[in-house]
């Protein structure tokens, strides 16, 4: 068993119910895609699995740790086995790529090694190997603020590869990448999970990317699980039902919905007012 959520509910301090009665279980090595409209609770679900948020109801067990009886020391031990990939890579801009990648093992290293690596990176070969897999080995000693958004996202993935977790959680890992790179990245994550027998849970915005690559699809809607099916059994009506709140079209890679950003909208309004 990799994780088991039993009737998990999550109510935020302001009273917003993010999750209710979620039952979800995964065996070791499974690869699961979470899909659903924005605000459905995909990120909350990943946060519970990643121990960032404790469920307010129900029982969550992750990698044989019983979440409701956590002690701080145990949580730390558990967390070293969980690798998270975030929508925007949480890496300081002035850090060097090599340091950012090595930071994946801070929870596993002895304190002296973590301290020394701030001055001289102690596992350059390991960092290089992880970066090679995301095609960034040449950026090993570059500073993170010299990278493009897509490159930085791949550094974040390299960090998780270097961490070698048993459970990989990815929250919209490719929404900032162009379609070709997105596909390659998803395949890399799947290959990594497969090679090491790790469990992979990824929330994805693009339905085609999910169904084309993952064996198991979980549809999330309004804080609960709408369906939980093998990819081959997911039908178009089912998807339309899932995305009913977002209109008639399904979000796919080929034509991602484009939203006018606020700045651009303002600019347009200014131009309209001037002329």
């Amino acid at each position: 068993m990799s994780f088991r959520l039993n009737g998990v509910g999550l109510t935020h301090a302001n009273g917003f119910v993010a999750l209710k009665g979620v039952m979800l279980q995964a065996e070791k090595g499974e690869r699961i895609a979470l899909i659903g409209p924005s605000g459905a609770g995909k990120t909350s679900l990943l946060s519970v699995l990643g121990t960032a948020l404790a469920p307010t109801e129900g029982l969550a067990e992750v990698l044989d740790f019983d979440q409701n009886f956590w002690l701080t020391a145990e949580v730390k031990k558990l967390r070293t086995h969980i690798g998270s990939i975030h929508q925007s890579p949480p890496i300081p801009g002035r850090q060097r790529v090599v340091t950012a990648v090595l930071a994946g093992k801070l929870g596993q290293w002895p304190a002296w090694k973590s301290l020394a690596s701030l001055v001289y990176p102690l596992d350059i070969a390991g960092a290089r190997a992880a970066l090679e897999r995301v095609d960034l080995a040449d950026k090993l000693f570059a500073r993170c603020d010299q990278l493009s958004g897509g490159q930085l996202q791949r550094v974040g993935i390299a960090r998780v590869l270097y961490q070698q977790p048993e459970l990989i959680l990815a929250d919209e890992p490719v929404s900032a990448l162009d379609p070709t790179l997105a596909l390659a990245t998803i395949r890399l994550l799947i290959a990594e999970a497969e090679a090491r027998g790790a469990t992979l849970v990824a929330s994805l915005h693009a339905v085609d990317l999910a169904i084309g690559n993952f064996s198991r699809i979980v549809g999330v809607k309004a804080g609960h699980i709408a369906f939980d099916l093998p990819a081959s059994e997911v039908t178009v009506p089912l998807l339309h039902d899932l995305y009913a709140s977002e209109g008639d079209e399904l979000p796919v890679q080929a034509h991602e919905p484009h939203f006018l950003s606020q700045a651009a909208a303002n600019e347009a309004a200014t131009r309209a007012a001037c002329c």
Partner: protein, 525 residues
Amino acid sequence: MSRIDRDPAARSRLIGALAMLVILWPLFQAAEVKPGVLFDPGNLKVIGNFLAGFLPPETGNEFLGYLAKATLETLAIATAGMALAFLIAVPMGYLASGAGREKATLNPVTRSLLTILRGIPELVWALIFVRVFGLGPAAGVLALGLTYGGMLAKVYAEILESVDAAPARALRHNGADRPLAILYGLIPQASKELASYTVYRWECAIRASVVMGFVGAGGLGQLMDQAMKMLNGGEAATILLAFMVLVFAADGFSGWLRRALDTPPANRASPFGWRSGGLGLALVVSIVASFSYLEIGLKSLLTLGPAFDSVVVEAARSIGEFVAGFFPPDLSAEWLAKVGKGIWETLAISVVGTLLAAVAGLLLALPKWRAPFSFLLNTLRSVPELVWATITALAVGLGPFAGALALALHTAGVLGRLYAEALDNAPPAPGQALRLAGAPGGFAFLYGTLPGAAPQLIAYTLYRWEMNIRMAAILGFVGAGGLGQLLYFELSLFHHAQASTVIIAMLLLSIAVDQASAWLRRAMR
């Protein structure tokens, strides 16, 4: 290890660290850093007895009367000094600024005059004016007015230059004069920053006027000086408390004023409401009250009775002689070497003090320890460096180490607060992500949070160091080494030619610091 797996930055890091050591070692030597002295039994006894004397603070009626009078005097010096500074700053800033000019001309004469005004520390001006006008608040007001006038003018000019120039240019092309173009085109953009900086300077003026008492320019500082010289701990404690209350109150008031500047104007013909009207009235009243409280009347300078003439002529002659005594400055090789040593010592004090402060400030700013120590930070910060120097001089004896410690104490308070703000503003996501990957809190901070905040921390530290070099130059007035000690001796001995060299050295140091920090900021960008 294969050749490819070597960190290319390692060599330059090693060289950098070695260079640091090579530079810092002699500086620590020059600052006479001897931590052992802090724990010397004899010194411990002196400072222990003195600090024990702090309790209970003096609360006798007679003393409290003196204290109230001195506090009022300090406030009045600050307010009157700021009024004078404003009068100097507005025309000078207008002349020096390139704002609203068709062709950007930097008025070199005004600019260099401003550099001289603010390059010489207010305490040195005060020391000189005390000799001209005698002991009393007039020297303090003049000194504040000149230095702060120079600073305000420079900053006003720069603020006006930094806002969008297009509105003023358009007005000028439509035939408006430069003053009107500035008033209608630039002031609306810059008014908040101008007002906010002026209020901030007033806050600084209160601190400065406290300090100027140490050279006999009246106010709380003079009282403190007397209490310290008599080792009267009880009185010193009460005065310190009064300092803190004053500084906190000024801090709070200026914060409130700056927030009030954010309110949008009322929806009527005159944008000024009861608050601006009331404040304006209060401002005028407090300036008039300050001057009359300090008994510096323009009248006494203007109404010249017949019997007065000879006195005035006599005074003018003695001032002239006094000023002439400063020229030519003593440029003998022997004296220059001594001044050079003073500059080196001043630099050493500032570097050591700032480094110690940065370490202490960072520790106190860490989220883990911030809560219990924020009061300590505020206390450290509210006591001016010069006052700390009188206390550290007791603890480690006269000399540069006392100065470095005093700088470190005050600066630790300032930097601690700035660091805490910077750490709060640093992006939280990287540290949080590392914690979720199992990193211990300390390392999540070192790898995730600190890199995000580092540029800000370094910028704050450099900025404080810049201020500390200037401060280190005058700490010597209470015996804490550096150029100040040299100047104080020479002025006490009426060696004006030698004093003049020291003042020029201070001025050059200040200009060099300006240039160096501008260069550093560009290099860091």
